[in-house]
Amino acid sequence: MAYLIEGDTGPWEIVVGLEVHAQVVSNAKLFSGAATAFGADPNSQVSFVDAAFPGMLPVINEICVEQAVRTGLGLKAQINLESVFARKNYFYADLPQGYQISQYEKPLVGEGQVIVDLNDGRSTVVGIERLHVEQDAGKSMHDQHPTKSCIDLNRSGVALMEIVSRPDIRSPDEAGAYLRKLRSILRYLGTCDGNMEEGSMRADVNVSVRKSGEEYRTRCEIKNVNSVRFVMQAIEVEARRQIELYESGGTVLQETRLFDPGRGETRSMRSKEHAHDYRYFPDPDLLPLKLSPDFVAQIKASLPELPDEKKDRFVRDFGLTPYDAGVLVVDRASADFFESVAKGRDSKLAANWVMGDLFGALNSTGKTIDTSPVSAAHLGELIDLITDGTLSGRLAKDVFALMVESGKAPSVLVEEKGLKQVTDTGAIETVIDQVMAANADKVAEYRSGKDKLFGFFVGQVMKASGGKANPGLVNDLLKSKLAG
């Protein structure tokens, strides 16, 4: 079902494109040797290059180029063997050079695509227009001093990838799913940590609305939105604002806006509008970036299996549903965890345990797959104990709870707590005999045709065995004994 907003004049479609700024994982900055770590003291990770002192010159960090190429390949995009760094000129307090070194006419990466899985099980393709490499600016803080803004240049010069999507997104949900998928791909590739709270991933959101079948109308750009939820909210409120404007006879101005999550509204950033003209031109301090086909081929050969391929393989090799496979591959650690649990075992059982009990336990204990108290080896062992009949399904749940608590191996716990399932026919027969003797009246009723009492006997036997009796054996033996 298409996502439409009902206005007074009928339904409206929304059109969204995202420009994601993803911080490249690297030790040093894009054009200087200063560190990139998060949370350092102000201006302590700043070189004279980053602070744009007179006479300072940029020299590019090889890893940043490699990471961008890797990302481009992960987005199934064209890698341009020749690209050019250009200066984007504007004044701002946290932009020391008075220009940002970016790429304009000749970006490093051309067209690609992202397959986006939606909640209703459908998937859709969002086109990537380009990816280019650029410097981040510093940080202005406006709330630390009564009359001044404070400038910290630690971020200044950190490498960013700007990933520009086509306006292929048609709902807040699709935007959210796209961002999550993009983040998943970047994390698989190890090119961006995707941490939106620390600002490693930010989005500029282009929103317009239109009636079905129309050409695109004027769009507004909502700058610097820093969470998936806010992106989705911002799209919704901005679309509604534009619809209201159109329906009350107004027009939408192409402008830059800011999303205020507290008020749930977007507002115009008039300061940014005033006479913007970036005067891009090729940076004369840098030469064109020329890559050899070999350089690209080597990176391509080292790419990990990405979520889409992994998902397909999980469906194909493990017989999972596309939905389950999709959930499992969102992050690489979960997928690897599942895979090592499932290897050589009943894969559906493995998927149920990972997605159900394990994810539930992680959720309730606030842990992640990387800090999971239950290792993949232990969970595999638990499944083995179920399969070989050592543990009943019920016992297994108890053992799992103990594993979460203690981090111990299931075999150890079974031993310690004596939780092993009883499969000794003689022992079970003894219990059955005791139960039948204690309930002679019920035995008589059963034998006179009250079949429903069978369940009662099962329950009594299981109870008497402390839950350890093998339910299958109990069934078989009870049936024959009750039959007389």
Binding site: F53, V59, F281, L286
Partner: protein
Amino acid sequence: MSDVTRLTMTEALALLNKGEVTSVDLTKAHLAGMESARNLNAYITETPEKALAMAGESDKRRKAGQTGLLEGIPLAIKDLFCTEGVQTTAGSHILEGFKPAYESSVTTNLWNQGAVMLGKANLDEFAMGSSNMTSYYGAVKNPWKRQGDDRDLVPGGSSGGSAAAVAACLAMGATGTDTGGSIRQPAAFCGIVGIKPTYGRCSRFGIVAFASSLDQAGPMTRTVADAALMLKAMAGHDPKDSTSAPQSVPDFTKSVGASIKGLKVGVPKEYKPDGLSAEIIGAWDKGLAWLKEAGAEIVEVSLPHTKYALATYYIVAPAEASSNLARYDGVRFGLRVPGNSLDEMYMKTRAEGFGREVKRRILIGTYVLSAGYYDAYYAKAQKLRTLIASDFRQAFERADVLLTPTAPTPAFGLGENLDDPITMYLNDVFTIPTSLAGLPGLSLPVGLSSDGLPLGLQLIGRPFDEETVFKAAHVMETAAQFKRWEAR
């Protein structure tokens, strides 16, 4: 010892080696000279304490048998090179008081070779000018005057302080930078030798940028041999400058005195515009005759796009400058004029901090890059640059080196040519094409005008072929017997 400041570097090094003079002696003599010639305004900042300390260290090294190429030689440093702990102004109010915590690569190379810094030489503001009149720290006077005329003349620019200091023996040599002629034209005006090497030969790291694709450092000295020696000390690949050439530096001094038999010297026919003075043409012909006499062959070459070089330059250079000078914003260093808002602070700081010519170029540069005009101006100029560079490539298929005048006139009076920027820009008509093509260009004095002012000729070489330029220059120098002491 008579006046040691009159020695060439080569002569001074011989005396130092023999122990007849020390670096401290040389340095003291220069410091005394600087003090008595302050009226020239060649230096913005004198660093006598640092100079003596460096000279003392040099003498110790020499005693210990460690001698660099320029061991103990006192130099002036154009105030466009960042020098650690020493005020670096670029001739601008906006950088007044700025003390870098770092050293430029070129000066680092010089100190590593034992040179001594006397002080920071005056220049046109941000190296934008051909007269040194745009310096916030005052105009520099040319040590030369017209015969029988006491009026002060300009030393040329932008490396005017460097040229005046070397000509007046206030330094044995000086660093210059050249974007469109800023080493060569003042060298010609002051009767000294100056070479802008091939773009990429000297690192730009730590040199205040004017136009990054054109800026290049070079030596300014009193002889060709000294220029060869000093360039050798300054040059070299620098990983901190992405445009620095990964080439080894030849021993340029070996070219000095080498034969030029069979050398093909090109004469670009477009360098004789109508109205070029007979004196300049005369000097040029004389230069060609000397080369011919030494066994060179003279060939005519054509550089058809020459007439567009100046206009090309005055698009490219201001465009780059408008961006390079954006960092002077009153936030991290230099001048700040308070304002009620960030924008107001920027606008007041930059209005007060920059002089008229700098503002003019920033505005032109901003305009030619702005939306809707980029293609008509900037992109067009870059295409012209391609054509100009290819003219030279073709000319160098026929010739090994080109000989041209350095400037269309000798030094002019202080305060002249200020009314019309374009008239001033014409000073660089012969030097700018070389800069646009990134080629080495050397100016040397070949004689005096009828009113007693030095005239310079320019030798232009193939990329990274400074050696041929030095060879030819030395032949001409020997023939010219230029009387460089007329200045004092």
